[in-house]
């Protein structure tokens, strides 16, 4: 990829710019097909695209569930809400 390649009618930089939209399912069918054609012919973009998608998957799988607040924070929040209702 040191030399920009044009495959599927797209250059590597255009694929880079569209990776999020691709992963989020926001591209038109023709644009999606063009990216997939480029990636089939460009091993560098295929590798980087795979790493990009793997990172998004890992984010969602590992970190998407928020921990609850610490118990003392929860207690003070509840107390503040009680005060606001009674005050």
């Amino acid at each position: 990829m040191n030399t920009p390649q044009e495959n599927g009618g797209l250059r590597c930089g255009e694929v880079l710019a569209d990776l999020s939209a691709y992963c989020d399912g926001e591209l038109s069918g023709s644009r999606r097909a063009a990216i997939e054609a480029h990636v089939r012919a460009c091993p560098d973009c295929a590798r980087f695209g795979g790493a990009f998608a793997a990172t998004l998957r890992a984010l969602r799988e590992q970190l998407s569930a928020p921990a609850d607040v610490p118990a003392d924070v929860a207690a003070r929040l509840a107390a503040a809400l009680r005060r606001s209702r009674t005050g």
Binding site: L16, D44, R85
Partner: protein, 194 residues
């Protein structure tokens, strides 16, 4: 309430009528996400707790007017964001940097001939590496990544919560994701040829 698991809309409607127990259920459901959001931006437990309390106090007062048919997180994050702005105006006003997308891609390994997706995929499977990489993102990018990828808000919801257009949100999110990969890559030993 119409089911065993009331919706956010049902809980806030009940809260608007003075049902403190319904609001408590609402608070328990969302306090972790709100706290994570504000803590990730303040990196300070005292300020995070302050904003957490302000957020739910404001939500209680605004329960009658809240539009949460599609979930309450955008509503809560918007309140929290305003509270954060009041508390940390200078911090939150950090502007987006001028690094080009190509440069961000390069830092993430896009132009690296030896990048190995397998090694990077291994690195992102290490929760500590991923969490540390998020911590090192600029606040605006950390914020959009958290709302969209960690809390699962839709693009429209994130854009509304951030007060920006959808395309601007998408651009910021893409930069955040590339910078996250760059931060993960920076944490992988160089002998792994990433």
């Amino acid at each position: 309430m119409t089911s065993d698991t009331p919706t956010d809309h049902e809980l806030l409607t009940a809260a608007a009528g003075g049902d403190a127990a319904a609001f408590e259920v609402f608070v328990v459901r969302h306090r972790g996400a709100v706290y994570r959001y504000v803590h990730s931006l303040t990196k300070n437990v005292t300020d995070a707790e302050d904003v957490l309390q302000q957020t739910f106090l404001a939500a209680w007062r605004a329960a009658a007017d809240a539009r949460v048919e599609h979930g309450a997180r955008p509503f809560l994050f918007t309140i929290a964001r305003h509270a954060l702005h009041r508390l940390h105006r200078s911090h939150m006003l950090i502007t987006e940097d001028a690094v080009s997308l190509e440069e961000l891609g390069s830092r993430a390994g896009f132009a690296a001939p030896h990048v190995t997706a397998e090694r990077l995929a291994q690195a992102v499977e290490e929760r500590a590496i991923l969490a540390a990489a998020i911590e090192d993102l600029p606040p605006l990018e950390r914020e959009v990544l958290q709302m969209r990828d960690l809390d699962g808000l839709s693009g429209d919801q994130v854009a509304a919560a951030l007060g920006i257009g959808l395309e601007a949100m998408k651009s910021r999110l893409h930069r955040a994701r590339l910078r996250l990969i760059a931060e993960v890559r920076r944490r992988v030993p160089t002998e792994d040829c990433l």
